[in-house]
């Protein structure tokens, strides 16, 4: 007797997967109830019993059992803009949006060309810098020391990746040079920097470097930290890219050589595009880590978004509301990191079309 294939309905699948035995049913119901209980409790706390506006601050913590979102209502500008002068915070807001838009645009395949992408980022950074720094078009100058909040986090992240990524490519190429001296030296540099904690690198670049560098090369502390962080990023990313290169069959470069293509053509058209495709998951991983570790700049006195959050509840008036503030900051991080992950997943699907 031949069996005919019968496509299971939704109900049938649920029954088969979760309720097929008494044990399954018990576990499903038990854990289902637990999850429901936690979610309902969370929902109660975050929405039903929450206090939403600053005006109702008095109700916070008086047995309402809900979240005190009033702290966000009162302090959101500090979280988003840090120590940036209050009247000028609209500039920081637009700068922030400019950075997000630039980042979003560079995810669009149309911009993926050697000419368009650099132009896009030059324009993006120029808008950001002019708005934040001021001093032009009648904008009051604001020194880098007073930048803060989300704009600062985004600025550090974007700068680090944009300086770090080309550096990583160069490092990876040097690392697999046929000349043992060059490959060896690069290996030692990468291994050394990777073995140092990021904090100590930031500290060195911020505090120690000015003693060594000539005056004209010192620049603001912020830019030194960014360069140090970019170097750190590049060393990790270089190894990721090198891994992607090693996954390429030797035949790929040989085929390009046999066609008479020179080194840079082989690297630019054959090796790197495929290496990046192979290295996409760890690259996204590295970007996520880099985004979150921007919070370390607080150690050398910058108020990025997490440090600004700390400041937001750090007054006598709001000192009980740290959970709410952290939830809010977590939501900000989540928004960016989740977008990044989803974009990574989109890229993988898109590139899978050309995969074997």
């Amino acid at each position: 007797m031949a069996k005919t294939y019968h496509k299971p309905t939704f109900i049938e699948r649920i029954r088969a997967n979760y309720f097929s035995t008494w044990l399954d049913t018990t576990l499903t119901l038990g854990f289902g109830a637990l999850v429901l209980w936690v979610l309902l409790g969370l929902f109660d706390w975050a929405f039903l019993n929450a206090v939403w506006s600053e005006a109702e601050r008095e109700q916070c913590g008086h047995g309402s059992g809900g979240a005190c979102w009033a702290v966000i209502d009162a302090r959101w500008r500090l979280i988003f803009f840090g120590l940036y002068p209050f009247e000028e915070q609209w500039r920081s807001a637009i700068a922030c949006i400019a950075m997000v838009v630039t980042g979003a645009l560079s995810c669009v395949p149309w911009f993926w060309s050697a000419r368009r992408l650099p132009v896009l980022w030059l324009v993006g950074f120029a808008i950001f810098y002019v708005l934040m720094r001021g001093g032009l078009f009648g904008l009051t100058p604001v020194s880098e020391q007073n930048w803060g909040g989300l704009s600062l986090t985004l600025f550090i992240f974007a700068s680090v990746t944009l300086i770090g990524m080309p550096m990583a490519i160069v490092f990876a190429l040097l690392r697999r040079s046929h000349l043992p001296m060059i490959a060896g030296t690069m290996g030692v540099i990468i291994d050394t920097i990777r073995s140092l904690p990021l904090l100590s690198i930031m500290f060195t670049f911020a505090i120690v470097l000015p003693f060594v560098l000539p005056g004209w090369a010192v620049g603001d502390k912020l830019y030194r930290v960014i360069v140090g962080y970019a170097l750190f990023f590049a060393c990790y990313q270089a190894e990721i890219i090198r891994g992607g290169m090693q996954a390429l069959p030797a035949g790929q470069e040989e085929a390009a050589q046999a066609l008479g293509m020179g080194y840079w053509h082989r690297i630019g058209y054959i090796v790197l595009p495929q290496a990046f495709r192979n290295a996409l998951p760890p690259t996204i991983n590295q970007l996520v880590i880099t985004f979150k570790e921007t919070s370390l700049v607080v150690i050398i006195g910058f108020f990025e978004v997490l440090a600004s959050g700390n400041a937001a509840y750090g007054t006598a008036e709001w000192n009980f509301a740290h959970i709410e503030v952290y939830c809010f900051v977590a939501l900000i991080y989540f928004t960016f990191v989740f977008a990044l992950s989803r974009y990574g997943a989109y890229l993988e699907r898109r590139l899978a079309v050309a995969a074997r």
Binding site: Q252, E254, G260, M261, H265
Partner: protein
């Protein structure tokens, strides 16, 4: 470069992998338009020999001259020779991240500085010739092995090379796909292309080769026109080899 110079002249060439002597005092002259088949047991150095001709492998002693250009350490000479020498690999080595058409147009555009329109026209011409113009917009991974190898041949031809090197082009193919690739190669041979093929397809050797070369242990043991080579092999090692591959 006159037409009198041979396509390839290899004199007393030595090649080592570390301390292992892979090719020993190789002497070989290939005339323009000549079709040569190289066979021999695995490890005999036949692939290494043709990979030396376009400098995918360096050689340590003797000299190689391709189309009148000396193959030395001069990068310009190497590039010049590679431009004129097409190569087809055992594992096709198509660029998986590019469409079939882009695979064929990339090198002509970058190396020969052709315009995209020009390169695409030539590419379609050769893709038609290997009988897969309709696959131009697909990716290599979407094609069968036989189709991929035909694309690889078209890709090499798009550079308009003087010499074609084939490194076991049918060894990685399923049996039913071998003939479609050999057909293309026969067509190419009939057009007068200078060809050096490392292959075990003895039928192909009989049909098109001007000369069959048998290599063993890094040496050219015997070379002769196909009839003579297959009917009256002189050397004991050749006889043993032919007995093994034709005997079953």
């Amino acid at each position: 470069m006159t037409t009198q110079t041979p396509a390839i002249r290899i004199s007393d060439m030595d090649k080592y992998f570390g301390t292992f002597h892979v090719l020993r005092k190789i002497n070989l002259e290939v005339a323009r338009g000549e079709r040569i088949v190289i066979c021999g047991p695995s490890g005999s150095g036949k692939s290494t020999l043709i990979r030396c001709i376009n400098r995918l492998e360096e050689y340590e002693g003797g000299s190689i001259n391709v189309l009148g250009t000396e193959l030395d350490d001069n990068i310009d000479n190497i590039d010049a020779i590679r431009r004129e020498t097409g190569m087809v690999f055992q594992h096709f080595n198509l660029f998986p991240h590019m469409t079939i058409l882009d695979n064929c147009t990339l090198a002509p555009m970058l190396v020969r500085k052709q315009s995209r329109a020009e390169a695409e026209e030539v590419a379609m011409q050769y893709l038609t010739r290997v009988k897969i113009p309709e696959q131009a917009d697909k990716y290599p991974g979407q094609l069968s092995g036989g189709q991929q190898q035909r694309v690889a041949i078209a890709r090499a031809l798009c550079m308009k090379p003087e010499i074609m090197l084939f490194d076991e082009p049918t060894s990685a193919l399923d049996p039913e796909m071998i003939s479609e690739v050999l057909d293309v190669m026969v067509g190419l041979a009939n057009d007068g292309m200078t060809m050096i093929c490392v292959t075990h397809e003895m039928g192909f050797a009989r049909q098109v080769a001007d000369r069959v070369i048998f290599m063993s242990d890094g040496e050219i043991v015997e070379q002769a026109p196909p009839t003579e080579f297959f009917e009256t092999p002189k050397h004991a090692r050749t006889q043993a080899f032919l007995g093994q591959i034709l005997g079953h």
